[in-house]
Amino acid sequence: MVWANAVLQGVLLGGLYALLACGLALMFGVMRIINLAHGDIAILGAYLIWVAVDHTSMSPFLAALLVLPIMLGLGYLLQIVLLERSLRAGPLVPLLTTFGLAIAIQNILLQVFSPDVQSLGGSAGDITTVSWQINDQVSIPGLGILILAIAVTVLGGLHLFLSHTRLGREMRATAQDPDTAQLVGINARDVYARATAIAVATAALAGLFLAIRSVFDPSSGPTQLIFAFEAVVIGGFSLWGTLLGGIVLGVAQAIGAQIDPNYSLLAGHLVFLAVLASPRGGLLVSRRVQA
């Protein structure tokens, strides 16, 4: 029964990883950029929400409603100011600039907020304590269910957006052939910036739930980036795949932790490497993201 519980907790944790991963997958799908600052952007979002909560003692969920539009704007600017230029400079340059950005964000956070560990769990209200006890070994935490539900909603929303709206169609068209997209009147620059804006906002949303679920500090970003990337690869680089990938990663970590807490991260990484080593691995990485 402890194993069933581990799997259950892993599945719920997978919701958080999917939420982290979907922005990374979206940016890769649309622009072929892997944003090495994705994890740090999630942590930046968590800190902005934390600041709002700290100053006004409002609910973190309400604070997130204020912060998410800011993150959308920051994402748009990130594309226009930094990534657009990087993309033009060659395929390796976005990696270098986003890595530079990651280092800069981490250390600005460190300077502004000190290395102290923070959490939003205390201010999030009852949701963090609600759980349904199935038996003495298995219980379903309300927060985990909420995060999974949000992840499914965000992925479903993105899916509907990409497949059924004009903007989504333009995003897919631009992803497939940016030059031709311009020739039918699509402003590829704007489409890219919107994609980055969405990715940055979903990262911040993931940051919110990470901060409620556990703790964070200025150096938490890189680990989150790695989890997000692993979820994307395990899931096969598709949007819905990130849900599957996130859940597989979460379950692997939970089962690893059940064996020995030291094995938690290792188990996740090993599943990732196993997927990479599988005959499918080589194929997966060359595919483009589809809605």
Binding site: L82, P91, L92, V93, L101, N107, L110, L225, L266
Partner: protein
């Protein structure tokens, strides 16, 4: 065609006078550097050892990215393996200095199976994939209590030497490693492999189409960089005598390498040396500023990547048309009256 044009002759040439001077100069510089420990004090020797380690790291990252198009943020994997490999070998009776060299080579051996996985990835996927590998190595090392677990361990075996002897030996080993690795990298690029690598960097598919064995060329480079980073790791251990898993497997190493290579000049042989010197000076001057110093490093890397992609050295090369360490050829035109 009515009028006779003067015949144009071309001459293919690799060497130029500045290049002869530079190659001779480098040899002399290395020779002169041998005498540093006997002339200067332990402190300066230690400082120069750190500089040499930085030169090795920058050259290795540049070999991957500048010549193979492989941007890695996971080379700390081999820095860590080099350091912990040294600890492991000395615990099993190997003398410390031979252990350092063996550990570097062992890092290369481990890089072979790793490359089978990682080189399936391209671009950003390779970058993070390499990082995951570094995390896995760090976690595995931390699990082994005999290697100090996560808390760190010191290289006790070196205590048999007096501090200034120890520092001198470490320095000489660093100098030797730097010279050998740079020379191997230099010579490697002047062979057929060098031309293949640059073709791969420019267009992997086109390179494959003209019959270049893309995978094996990349693999050689990856293993070479692993050996170099392993050497840098074991030298770092000998230079500081104490290591911790978190610090030695820290992704910050990658930040340093990227900074040095971008500032010095990606894809040139001289650039990483310039970058390492610049970074060394900046580190000594600004490291006290803590986080802001790192913000500055990140921002500078971005600025160089976007606005000065050739780096300091590459820009100079363009400006003055010099190649001190030539790996390509000049096509010189001489006009002759017909």
């Amino acid at each position: 065609m009515s009028e006779e044009q003067p015949m144009t002759h071309y001459r293919v040439q690799r060497w130029s006078v500045p290049a002869y001077v530079a190659n001779g100069g480098f040899a002399l510089l290395v020779l002169a550097l041998v005498f540093v420990p006997s002339v200067f004090g332990t402190f300066l020797t230690q400082q120069l050892t750190s500089l040499l380690i930085l030169v090795i790291l920058a050259a290795m990252w540049n070999a991957l990215a500048g010549f193979g198009g492989l941007v890695s943020v996971g080379q700390q994997a081999y820095i860590g393996l080099g350091a912990y490999g040294t600890i492991y070998l000395t615990q099993h009776g190997v003398a410390p200095y031979p252990a350092m060299i063996l550990a570097a080579l062992a890092a290369g051996v481990i890089a072979l199976p790793t490359s089978l996985l990682l080189l399936r990835l391209r671009g950003g996927q390779f970058a993070i994939g390499a990082w995951v590998v570094a995390e896995v190595f760090a976690l595995l090392v931390a699990l082994d209590q005999s290697l100090g677990g996560g808390t760190g361990i010191s290289l006790a075996a070196l205590n048999v030497y007096s501090p200034d002897r120890r520092q001198a030996y470490t320095y000489w080993l660093a100098l030797g490693c730097a010279a050998v690795l740079l020379a191997v990298g230099y010579l490697m690029l002047r062979t057929r492999l060098g031309a293949s690598l640059q073709a791969i960097r420019d267009d992997e598919e086109a390179a494959a189409a003209v019959g270049i064995r893309v995978m094996s060329a990349k693999r050689i480079l990856y293993i070479f960089a692993a050996i170099g980073c392993g050497a840098a790791g074991s030298l770092t251990l000998a230079n500081t005598l104490f290591i911790q898993t978190q610090a030695v497997f820290d992704v910050q190493w990658s930040a340093y390498m990227i900074f040095m290579v971008l500032v010095g000049g990606l894809g040139t042989l001289e650039g990483p040396i310039v970058g390492a010197v610049v970074f060394f000076l900046i580190q000594n001057k600004f490291a006290d500023y803590g986080a802001w110093y790192l913000v500055g490093l990140g921002a500078t890397a971005i600025v160089f990547a976007l606005f000065l992609p050739r780096g300091l050295w590459g820009t100079m090369e363009m400006r003055f048309d010099i190649r001190l360490l030539p790996v390509g050829y000049y096509l010189r035109r001489r006009k002759r009256a017909s």
